[in-house]
Symmetry: C2
Subunit: 234 residues, 2 copies
């Protein structure tokens, strides 16, 4: 065991080294397509066609479908196939309810957050500012997700991280279903900066308050956008 000193430096490589199964890689690829809108909500995914396109067998593809089904990105209708999920108004409300509980809790206990966690929140803020600067609205959206993921990480809880990651992925689906996602995210860049500053100053309760207000505003905005959508359809 004399040679086992300083091995902690390699622990970061673990994730990289772990080969993943084909099903997981397929799931990753599909998740990307769903999140960036290449696969629209409601679209049906044929086992045969997709399997051929991706070069994997139906069985493997079905495993990938199961993974994404659990993330609520796909819905599996028995004997009917899998479809890209179509979030409804109720889903939007529900997503915000859970986010509120988890993210606010994470912010309130940020004093016990792990080393560097607040800094990662700041990094996400800057990423968003940079994207906004070059007019990359999709990039702003991505940075925004990363910001909230970083907020959740303040709880120092793997399960919170996982749940929030799923919620945010689902939320991106909602953005595709709404009318004008283009300038939804941009206004919040400044707010994110403010929340990060409060975190740095240790004013956690104030930060939680601002975050709570954000949830109110964003949720209402989404709900309204959604109501208009459905009105148009009818």
């Amino acid at each position: 065991m004399a040679t086992s000193e300083g091995l902690e430096a390699f622990s970061d490589l673990r994730g990289t080294l772990e080969r993943s199964s084909t099903a997981e890689r397929v799931a990753d690829a599909l998740r990307e397509r769903i999140i960036d809108g290449a696969l629209a909500p409601g679209a049906r995914l044929s086992e045969e066609a997709l399997g051929q396109a991706l070069g994997v067998s139906r069985n493997t593809l079905r495993e990938a479908f199961r993974l994404l089904g659990h993330e609520r990105l796909l819905v599996h209708r028995f004997n009917r196939g899998v479809f890209v999920a179509e979030p409804e108004l109720a889903d939007v409300v529900d997503l915000y309810r859970v986010r509120r509980a988890l993210e606010l809790d994470a912010v309130r206990r940020a004093d016990r957050a792990p080393e560097g966690a607040v800094a990662r929140v700041g990094a996400a803020v800057e990423e968003g500012e940079a994207a906004a600067g070059r007019g990359d609205w999709w990039g702003v959206g991505t940075a925004n997700m990363r910001f909230h993921q970083a907020l959740a990480a303040l709880a120092d809880s793997p399960r919170t991280d996982e749940v929030v990651r799923r919620l945010l992925a689902e939320l991106r689906l909602v953005f595709h279903a709404m009318a004008a996602p283009r300038d939804f995210h941009v206004p919040y860049v400044a707010l994110n900066r403010r929340i990060h500053r409060l975190l740095e100053e240790g004013r956690l309760e104030k930060a939680a308050e601002e975050l709570s207000d954000y949830f109110d505003v964003a949720e209402r905005q989404l709900v309204e956008a959604f109501s208009e959508e459905t009105e148009e359809k009818e």
Copy 2:
């Protein structure tokens, strides 16, 4: 469309009618065995042997494994097989962290809970009292889980329900790993009754306080039991 009135009455049947896939039924069966301890933490599940025993093909069984893996009841080690999860001390702490956030939030907003939700909490309390009366400690544990599930349901949020259900299932795994699960749950029956009464009286903040204390005590008790366990092993 003149005949389509009053069809809402049938919407309850939807769930009953939906046939489930073989994989899901297999997953249900395995989940039961894991939760009631028939499959001990750490046990390895052979695809071949289990498939034969259950009368399903390896492919189908693998689908079921994926489902339970997402619930963290099984861990899937690449090229090595699936094992019943072995929760560690860190998992106990993490489980309570997320439960605290979600259940407390649910209790605090119980004034907006759906019709009959508080009554279902009461039903779980009585179930626990009945089980305690006849000395059925396992039944007390089950009722306790149902009590907390009912608390979570106060949030009126499908996603909260799902997450909490998963957390509680995982928690049962923890009980198997600890020394004396026999009389762990019984002392909390009285507390549950108290919390229910506070909910009925609308004293939500007080109820949340009691619940928070419960989390403190239960978590510490589990952590201690766990530390002893690992000491014995070494």
